[in-house]
């Protein structure tokens, strides 16, 4: 399973801010320490030079005024400890005799700085060279002035800690920010997915949802795929329609011939066979018709041809057209249509739906019964009810019956393709309506088709 984009983004942003805060800490720590060291070295060097300038030769030997003010100031920043040593020749004149000497002898102008451990502390020392004339000989003199740097270090450490705190704050702030950013980045993908998800099952139009540039390749690929799918689908449907059409014509010829033969045949056995042949041809023609209907519905659902229609008028027309079939079984078609029901829809689709409902009702009704057909307005919808006294839907769920090539368990003796209810349901859905099938009180089935009115 691939890692979630959002999680990856959040982790990367977090890692970045963690690295940044560590870098900030290190940079401030090093920077502050170096900057303060440079500054304090400059002060220490100046103080050492100042002290060296106090070296004087008098009758008694070498004298020096150790400047207490300078010591105070050197110690003031961070309460440092002060050490010093004054050497003339090889002799320590004053100060700490054990204060370590520099490895490199300083020149007269540039102090030498070095750090040594001394009396349990790290001491930064500035060494300055001078020469003094004692009894007509020039003697080299060395002034060492040292200070601890604990205060400076603690100030630098505090600065660095503050920087680290800041970095930590940035890091913590990065969590919600990166979540927010991740959500913002993922949102177009989500909305695109939602737009595709929201489409009807037959909606194969190209995706026109606005998408960021980065997602355009995906959208283009998706659209190309949809295009191919549509091509394949329409090819299949065209093929089915063609096939159904091509089957219907020879079937009709076959039926006519069989009927002629029936009329002319004397043998009862042959007549029986011919009747079965005719019924078989009828069933085959029906199935072919339904296949054609189904293909039409699928095609139309995609590219509905909307026009102003009157549902009431259509119900009446379809019922009348099936009158002959009903009469053959002595079924009374009772049509109750009171008012015009104007709607906007695809006449072919709605007609296919109506034809299949009524045809079904006739088909599953026993002889000498009544099929009641009514159409009226309920709120914004037109409700078309087709009720029979047939065998009902049995134990099968109505939803299941609406699926393609599904038939009820109680209809094995009646020929059928299992497409009729599918066509009705698909047509209803394409028109924004609804189809329901339920058992009728007192036996039989009630089919309810709801279609929006204009």
């Amino acid at each position: 399973m691939a890692v979630s984009l959002r999680r990856r983004l959040v982790w990367q942003l977090l890692a970045l801010s963690a690295i940044l805060s560590v870098a900030l800490f290190v940079a401030v720590r090093i920077g502050a320490e170096r900057a303060s060291e440079v500054t304090m070295d400059a002060i220490l060097g100046a103080a050492a030079q100042n002290m060296a300038e106090e070296l004087r030769v008098s009758d008694g030997g070498v004298g020096i005024d150790v400047p207490s003010g300078t010591f105070s100031m050197l110690a003031a920043m961070g309460e440092e400890r002060i050490f010093y040593r004054v050497d003339v020749g090889q002799l320590t004149v004053t100060g700490y005799e054990d204060l370590p000497l520099p490895e490199k002898v300083p020149t007269a102008l540039v102090p030498v700085f070095y750090t040594v451990p001394f009396r349990d502390a790290e001491v930064r020392i500035a060494a300055v060279a001078r020469s003094v004339r004692i009894e007509k000989t020039l003697r080299p003199a060395l002034v060492l002035l040292g200070q601890t740097r604990e205060g400076q270090r603690s100030i630098a450490a505090e600065l660095a800690n503050r920087a680290a705190l800041l970095g930590m704050a940035v890091f913590l702030a990065a969590i919600p920010i990166s979540l927010f950013v991740a959500r913002g980045l993922i949102r177009p993908i989500d909305s695109l997915a939602e737009a595709v998800e929201r489409r009807g099952p037959r909606d194969l139009r190209p995706v026109r949802h606005p998408a960021p540039t980065e997602l355009l390749p995906l959208v283009t690929a998706l659209n190309r795929f949809i295009g191919r799918l549509r091509g394949t689908l329409s090819q299949t449907e065209t093929f089915i329609a063609e096939a159904a059409h091509h089957i219907r014509t020879p079937l009709a010829i076959m039926r006519n011939e069989a009927e002629l033969a029936l009329r002319q045949s004397e043998s009862e056995a042959a007549r029986d066979r011919l009747r079965r042949l005719i019924r078989g041809a009828d069933d085959a023609a029906r199935s072919a018709g339904q296949l054609l209907d189904h293909a039409t519905v699928l095609y139309r659902a995609e590219q509905a041809d909307l026009a102003k229609i009157d549902l009431a008028e259509m119900v009446r027309a379809v019922a009348n057209r099936l009158h002959a079939a009903a009469e053959m079984k002595d079924i009374d078609l009772q049509i109750t249509v009171e008012e015009p029901l104007p709607a906007e829809g695809d006449a072919v689709l709605i007609e296919a739906a109506l034809r299949n409902i009524i045809d079904n009702a006739i088909k599953y009704s026993p002889s000498d019964t009544r099929v009641e057909i009514s159409a009226h307005r309920i709120g914004k919808n037109g409700e078309i009810l087709v009720m029979d006294r047939g065998r009902g839907i049995g134990a099968a769920s109505p939803e299941l019956l609406k699926r393609r090539f599904r038939r009820g368990e109680n209809v094995a003796d009646v020929a059928g393709s299992g497409l009729g209810l599918t066509i009705v349901a698909e047509a209803a859905e394409a028109m924004g309506g609804h189809f329901e099938l339920f058992a009728r009180e007192g036996g039989g089935t009630c089919a309810k088709l709801l279609l929006p009115l204009s």
């Binding site: 008694g60 030997g61 207490s68 010591f71 105070s72 010093y84 004053t94």
Partner: protein, 342 residues
């Protein structure tokens, strides 16, 4: 060559003295004899710290305590050179205490005891002031004529001495900075703070001023009338005497304030007990008891806010300069030159 010989003599002297050990003036022991005592080494007479120590022992009956008194030099030597295992060192020699702390011979004091102390009353967490006392001018009876007002600045003091040279001839007393560590510290601070110090030294020299090792001797001579003026006398000694004998004056151009400081040496055996004792000294109760014993104000920043002429001697490594052998030598030469007129 001369210097080498001098150094050798010094070393010899030092080793001789080290062999003998540092000199003790007083050695007192309190509390249960079998307990390990908290050892305090101090320059301060026990009398002055008696109230606070008594209260501490009452509060800690199981604790025993040894109180050793020595001069400031000896106190320094005991710790710096002999590494004696004292637990608390209290000394009025700020410079020597500073040197002990600066040279890494002190351990940190309890942080909570230092909290709230003004910056001038401590150095790092190693050295803390437990008492402050002004360095004052004392005028004995007869120093002033009936209509004269006592001097309030060094300038006025100079004028008084100059105008009445006969009256003060041989009757001015001050520390001998060559002998007394405290005297040298005061003189060095005086020289730092004002130019009048040198003129004062000249005037005192011209009038054959007497030089003393200690405040107490000066006060004794003032009481007997041998002296009329005592310059740079420790306040605690001056206050200890009745005000009737002489006048104690805090000069208003500035009055140095000496800090008695305490530290815990690295060589301490009872660092815990020492920290506890210092905590007690710095508590409000402890400060009040020290103030009662010394007759001096406790360490409080407000004292300096109220009396702007009070200058605490800065407790920082600047004090090391006063200890520098060569610097000291130069200063004393200059001072002698001022005091001794041809």
């Amino acid at each position: 060559m001369r210097q080498v010989a001098f150094a050798a003599v010094l070393t010899l002297l030092a080793s001789l003295r080290a062999a003998m050990g540092f000199e003790i003036e007083d050695d007192l022991r309190f509390g249960p004899p079998d307990a390990t005592p908290l050892e305090i080494l101090s320059t301060t007479d026990f009398v002055i710290l008696e109230p606070v120590i008594t209260a501490y022992l009452q509060q800690n009956p199981a604790r025993s305590l040894r109180y050793v008194v020595a001069s400031s030099q000896e106190v320094y030597r005991a710790i710096a050179e002999e590494h004696r295992a004292f637990d608390v060192v209290i000394s009025s020699a700020m410079d020597l205490q500073m040197k002990l702390a600066n040279d890494g011979l002190a351990t940190p004091l309890p942080a909570e005891a230092l909290r709230g102390l003004p910056a001038w009353a401590r150095w790092r967490d190693l050295l803390v002031a437990v008492a402050q006392e002004p360095v004052v001018l004392i005028l004995g009876k007869g120093a002033l004529a009936a209509q004269e007002t006592p001097p309030s600045t060094r300038r006025e003091l100079l004028a008084l001495l100059r105008d009445n040279a006969d009256r003060f001839e041989g009757k001015i007393g001050s520390y001998d900075p060559a002998v007394s560590g405290a005297g040298y510290l005061f003189a060095a601070q005086d020289a730092r703070l004002s130019d009048t110090f040198w003129r004062l030294a000249e005037v005192m020299g011209r009038m054959n001023a007497r030089l003393y090792c200690c405040s107490s001797d000066m006060i004794d001579d003032l009481r007997t009338g041998t002296l009329l003026v005592g310059y740079n006398v420790l306040g605690s000694y001056a206050m200890a005497w009745a005000k009737d004998d002489f006048q104690v004056i805090e000069l208003e151009d500035y009055t140095l304030t000496l800090l008695r400081t305490a530290l815990i040496p690295k060589s301490a055996n009872e660092a815990e007990g020492a920290a506890d004792f210092i905590r007690f000294l710095l508590s409000d109760n402890g400060k009040a008891l020290i103030a009662r014993g010394a007759g001096l104000p406790a360490i409080e920043a407000a004292a300096f806010d109220r009396n702007t002429h009070l200058r605490p001697i800065r407790l920082d490594p600047g004090l090391l300069a006063a200890l520098d052998r060569v610097t000291r030598q130069r200063f004393l030469e200059e001072w002698r030159a001022a005091m001794v007129q041809p």
